[in-house]
């Protein structure tokens, strides 16, 4: 959480204070176990929320911390999903190694494109990411001999996790798997954000030109964080491919890039829990609204988004933080 700068503390102390786990965080992660006991029929939704949260976390890392606005983040999600699907199709269905290989493949694409990304800012960057996303989408569409094209990839065969836990209809395995991966990645991201590297990212977000003057190379930092973010998005993509045994062009689509951006903005960009809270609210709202009215539910989602952006410009978490700050300001 972004705390106001306090006076007269040494940098190490500042970072150490940030790293400490807040009791609310522990409550939050304990609460993620609740669906197992209280809403077992919502586990497959919970699993897809956990995956969306991981994807949102990866976008938040570049958007909220490094200031890279991306409209093509699904490129890495889809890359991970197709890699995981394809290796299982060609005989290696072990999920954990599959997950790692998929993340590596997405990271490779991320690293390759990061050289272009690091050179540009603002509108050019948005167009670039959008373009890269569309390129990969069309590539997957035309390589239908490999990807199955518009019909989606067929023949995915994922083995049970540790050869024991198969993917059940209720989603017990899927949610456990997704949640564990989300938590591990979250812990790593949290560590990264509160490191000197994370601090310099925020500096780049505020002013990329000045950062090199204090000895933080903007371009190479952007390349690094962009690659890390691509790896995380690849993990999310691989998870959805493995837990649902489906991969289609939708994984690379603009809608997916746009949805994840909405989730991050909804929850609050530049906050570790922003993307996670955003994806929970977005997907639960979607599930509930579309259950009530399957045809016009998008209206309510749109209304929710407009309200949040108008009245809580820093997202829901930003609003909550402001509330807390106001309370503290009272005599």
């Amino acid at each position: 959480m972004a705390a106001p700068p306090e006076t007269n503390i040494r940098p190490q102390q500042f970072l150490a204070a940030q790293v400490r786990w807040h009791p609310l965080e522990i409550v939050f992660w304990v609460a993620t176990l609740a669906p197992f006991y209280f809403f077992p029929s919502y586990l497959s939704l919970a699993s897809q929320i956990a995956i969306a949260a991981l994807f949102a976390l990866s976008l938040d890392l570049i958007l909220g911390y490094a200031g890279i606005v991306s409209l093509g983040h699904a490129a890495f999600f889809g890359m991970g999903a197709y890699t995981a699907g394809l290796i299982s199709k060609f005989g290696w269905g072990e999920p954990l190694t599959g997950l790692i290989i998929a993340a590596f493949a997405a990271g490779l694409v991320g690293y390759a494109t990061s050289f272009i990304i690091a050179k540009f800012r603002h509108l050019t960057l948005i167009m670039l990411t959008l373009g890269i996303g569309l390129l990969l989408y069309e590539a997957a569409n035309s390589a239908s001999w490999l990807t199955g094209g518009a019909d989606g990839l067929q023949g995915i065969d994922i083995w049970p996790i540790f050869n024991t836990f198969d993917y059940d209809l209720w989603g017990y395995t899927a949610y456990t798997y997704s949640l564990v991966v989300l938590f591990l990645v979250f812990v790593a991201t949290r560590r990264l954000i509160h490191s000197p590297f994370g601090l310099s990212l925020r500096g780049i977000r505020e002013n990329a030109v000045r950062m090199p003057a204090i000895g933080a190379p903007s371009e190479s930092h952007i390349r690094t964080v962009y690659t890390i973010s691509a790896v995380m998005a690849g993990l999310a993509g691989a998870l959805i491919a493995q837990t649902t045994s489906t991969v289609s062009l939708e994984a690379l689509s603009f809608e997916r890039s746009a949805d994840v951006l909405v989730m991050v903005v909804l929850g609050g960009a530049g906050r570790l829990y922003g993307g996670i809270i955003g994806s929970i609210i977005f997907l639960v709202a979607r599930d509930q609204f579309s259950g009530i009215n399957p045809q016009y539910w998008l209206f309510w989602i749109g209304l929710l988004l407009v309200m949040v952006v108008m009245f809580l410009p820093n997202g829901i978490l930003g609003g909550l933080a402001r509330l807390k700050w106001l309370q503290r300001g009272k005599p």
Binding site: S44, N141, V247, P294
Partner: protein, 395 residues
């Protein structure tokens, strides 16, 4: 962790038992997954009206049980969501039957659920051949694209007397399927393909492609475009480049000359030949009734999506009658195998071996009738099975 997981598993088992005992006796729940928002919304809305038309005509009680629909929006091509919604329909809403599925990737993803949960599943549109192989509890009441492409290929080279043909299709899955099946059947029956071209799915400029076809001067041009605004655009390109459908034959599938397409094309549509299973002007007793009820419900004429929904409901009703209301997946699919009936499209049946639709493919020509361009049937091929699965059987 391991212990915790075992705990969850036993909890799951307990919940499953609770679920089955809590099952209401007097109703049959049908979970329907349709795209009701986004760019495919219109297809889903038409299918829903088709389903409702059947229930209006034959009532909502069958074999002493009340039929209850639970409709979910999948919002477009989204297999992970389609799978999750199907799972939730089974575990949360406790549906007995899964139905709907306009889009192929969604139907394929849901096939896994039908198989795992042993639920009878009725695909009411998605037209790629392989779908029904995904679960042995699945039937289809719409069509398969090769049924039209393959039949037309053979017909053109034999009865149609056409020797050379050029093909133009949209560059995506369904386009490839139709193209391949047409070319294969046409060549097998002695025809010669002089060239093939694929244009992008979204907003193509047809002029250059049509010109290329014209330069080769084939006897016929086989066209596939998705519905919507594209049929009118391609017909306009043909007219502008001076291709006259009465001289160079233009062949296509039903999308090319659907109700809305014909309105957009106007006179440029005259002379186009299509092979398809249904048109809302089909002259059968069943169809007149269907069109009337469909119009009562939505003030619109039915299309192939409505028809798939309507016939899908028929298959469900008839299967339930046969099993006396037993909703077990195996019992229902066995009851549905071999069903034969007179659909608004004409006679159709469910193949007992492949569980896929068997129907008549009509060869039609666009002519002026009562002042508007109309698909006029002038030939037909009866009892057409899905050619892809027929081929697979031979191997």
């Amino acid at each position: 962790m391991r212990k915790a997981l075992t705990g969850f598993a036993s909890l799951a088992a307990a919940a499953l038992v609770a679920a089955s005992s809590a099952h209401a006796q007097g109703t049959v729940k049908i979970g329907v997954i349709l795209p009701l928002s986004g760019q495919f919304a219109d297809t889903g809305i038409q299918m829903r009206t088709g389903i409702q038309s059947y229930m209006k005509q034959y009532g909502d009680t069958v074999a002493g049980k009340k039929i209850e629909l639970i409709i979910k929006d999948v919002g477009g091509i989204n297999p992970p969501l389609a799978k999750r919604l199907s799972q939730e329909l089974v575990v949360r809403d406790k549906v007995d039957i899964l139905a709907g599925y306009v889009l192929t990737p969604n139907a394929l993803a849901a096939g896994d659920v039908s198989k795992e949960a042993n639920k009878f599943m009725v695909v009411m549109n998605a037209a790629t051949s392989i779908i029904t192989e995904k679960s042995d509890k699945m039937i289809r009441t719409s069509m398969t694209l090769p049924q039209s492409g393959d039949t037309f290929g053979t017909w053109a080279a034999t009865k149609g007397g056409i020797k050379t043909c050029y093909t133009m299709v949209s560059d995506y899955g369904p386009g490839h399927d139709v193209e391949q099946s047409f070319i294969k059947a046409f060549a097998a029956a002695g025809g010669k393909i002089t060239g093939s071209v694929r244009y992008p799915v979204a907003n193509p400029d047809f002029a250059a492609f049509v010109q290329r076809a014209k330069d080769l001067n084939p006897e016929c041009i086989f066209v596939f475009v998705p519905g919507g605004t594209q049929p009118a655009a391609i017909a306009k390109a043909f007219a502008e480049r001076g291709i006259d459908p009465t001289k160079t034959k233009i062949l296509g599938t039903g999308e090319l000359t659907g109700e809305q397409s014909l309105q957009g094309m106007g006179k440029t549509a005259l002379g186009i030949l299509t092979a398809w299973h249904y048109d809302y002007k089909q002259d059968t007793k069943e169809n007149k009734e269907f069109v009337r009820i469909h119009n009562e419900l939505s003030k619109r004429n039915p299309d192939l999506f409505s028809l798939g929904g309507y016939d899908g409901m028929h298959a469900i009703y008839e299967a339930l009658k046969k099993t006396n209301g037993n909703t077990d997946g195996t019992a229902l699919v066995n009851a549905a195998k071999g069903l034969k009936w007179n659909s608004p499209r004409g006679p159709m049946s469910i193949d007992p071996e492949t569980r896929d639709v068997v129907q008549t493919i009509y060869i039609r020509k666009v002519e002026m009738r009562d002042g508007e361009p109309t698909n006029v049937i002038f030939d037909k091929v009866e009892n057409v099975k899905d050619p892809v699965k027929e081929e697979m059987k031979k191997k």
